[in-house]
Subunit: 310 residues, 2 copies
Amino acid sequence: MSILVVGSVAFDNIETPHGKRERCLGGAATHFSLAASYFTDVRVIGVVGEDFTAEDEAVFTRRGVDTRGLEHAPGKSFHWTGSYMNNLNEAQTLNTELNVFATFSPNVPDAYKDSDLLFLANIDPVLQMRVRAQMPNVRMVGGDTMNYWITGHRENLVKMLAGLDALLINDGEAKLLAEDSNLVVAARKILTMGPKALIVKHGEYGATAFFSEKAFGGNKRLYLPFRAPALPLAEVVDPTGAGDSFAGGFFGYLDSQKEITLENFKRAMFYGGVMGSFAVQRFGTEQTQSLTREEIDQRFALFRELSHLD
Amino acid sequence: MSILVVGSVAFDNIETPHGKRERCLGGAATHFSLAASYFTDVRVIGVVGEDFTAEDEAVFTRRGVDTRGLEHAPGKSFHWTGSYMNNLNEAQTLNTELNVFATFSPNVPDAYKDSDLLFLANIDPVLQMRVRAQMPNVRMVGGDTMNYWITGHRENLVKMLAGLDALLINDGEAKLLAEDSNLVVAARKILTMGPKALIVKHGEYGATAFFSEKAFGGNKRLYLPFRAPALPLAEVVDPTGAGDSFAGGFFGYLDSQKEITLENFKRAMFYGGVMGSFAVQRFGTEQTQSLTREEIDQRFALFRELSHLD
């Protein structure tokens, strides 16, 4: 099995109450790839500049991530500067330099076309659709988006959503997208826009999955939502990439399974939470670079103990 | 088994996006009593005025609640007016008339002294301590409080906490009490103040229990926190009393069990969520007055399906 992710690869300057880091390797595709790499084969599509070194690329390849889809363009890589000094739950963007990312035009290499799953990380919905169209036979398509596209590019976003099997966003994004302040009502609306499953991330409170009647083969059974916990942590060092690590753990686990059943979907939600909990324990991708599958499964067991009766 | 609750009995004027109600029977002790009554024998201590009718009292007695501790005082009952028009998650208090509650001085009737559990609902910590002192041999003591006592009466509150086995508060109250914005750190601090267990209510995201090493017989094993879900609801009619109904379900279930084990505690967290989810589906105590144990156990099964793998 293999999963293809398209999204940003970036350098991040990050400030949190636990310290400051400059030029951390980051970006949604990076966090996603590393998290998913513990479960399945990962292929990445993105663009980097001349400042992206062989050592940066080795962060991917050491985890077995296929980087043949990483385009090396003239100029500098995408560079983001953010601070969590006021609020650990929400980054304050201090500076964004798109650089080579401004003209990113993703194409799927032939070698990637047999990927089983596709994840469209948070980029322009026009580009998400462009990649989606090049992968007509993929088993499952997941996607992410953000307020910027919801408010300013709604028409394109709605078109993009029609091509998704699963959308992963947070509470605020779901309510904004559906224009409703009740999460259940918002979820029902979003599920009429295309996705068969909506995963809403609640940060420290975990995540909830909502399903349309078309999910899991469309037997029209009305599925109950599913809630996965997050790990209560005494120390959150750097929240950057938590959501993308969740997505990587979630889709990586799903891709490693023969069938996408409701039970596998639930377990994938737990693995998403597990990878998100690791991501925030150190700066950038430091923690997600250096895990073992055993540590991941131990934490999965912890998540179960944390939330299960008996 | 039997549980004794001391707290407010009130009339509430409530406005929510779903409508307006005047003189709903309310108050923490009322919501708690009705929720707990589905699990165990309940005894209530409170004060009401001359406007409290036989029909109001019948709301308690129809559910088998022992009202011999309800003091009938000259004057009017406690009257609260609140609105959820701006935010369904937080009541805006428009008016508070303490009336007979202003001089409330609770005493435990002899007939109540053999109660197994005691719940000190949100009242002045001086009064909570007064009741606590009259129940030296009780099996377990739970308590609630609010920002008003945390900020303005901290010294008394801290003394009261020393006599509690379990404290039930929400996220904001826990962080304010501990003066720390990280919930895990806040919980650890609060657990050094006396309670062996802290239950933090997250509203629509459920609740988390944290345990000190003194919990469950003090075997010094380090307990993992435990997370119970809330039911995602498309319609929240009236949030008033959700937290007290959670507490009633939680302590009511615990009191019905021979032993207070970790496993019973976890199930009690689920029953707390179940009773909270019923409470918000209609105005005031309308829903909690008229349930069956079968409906409650069906929803318990739903909570399990909502949150459990396999």
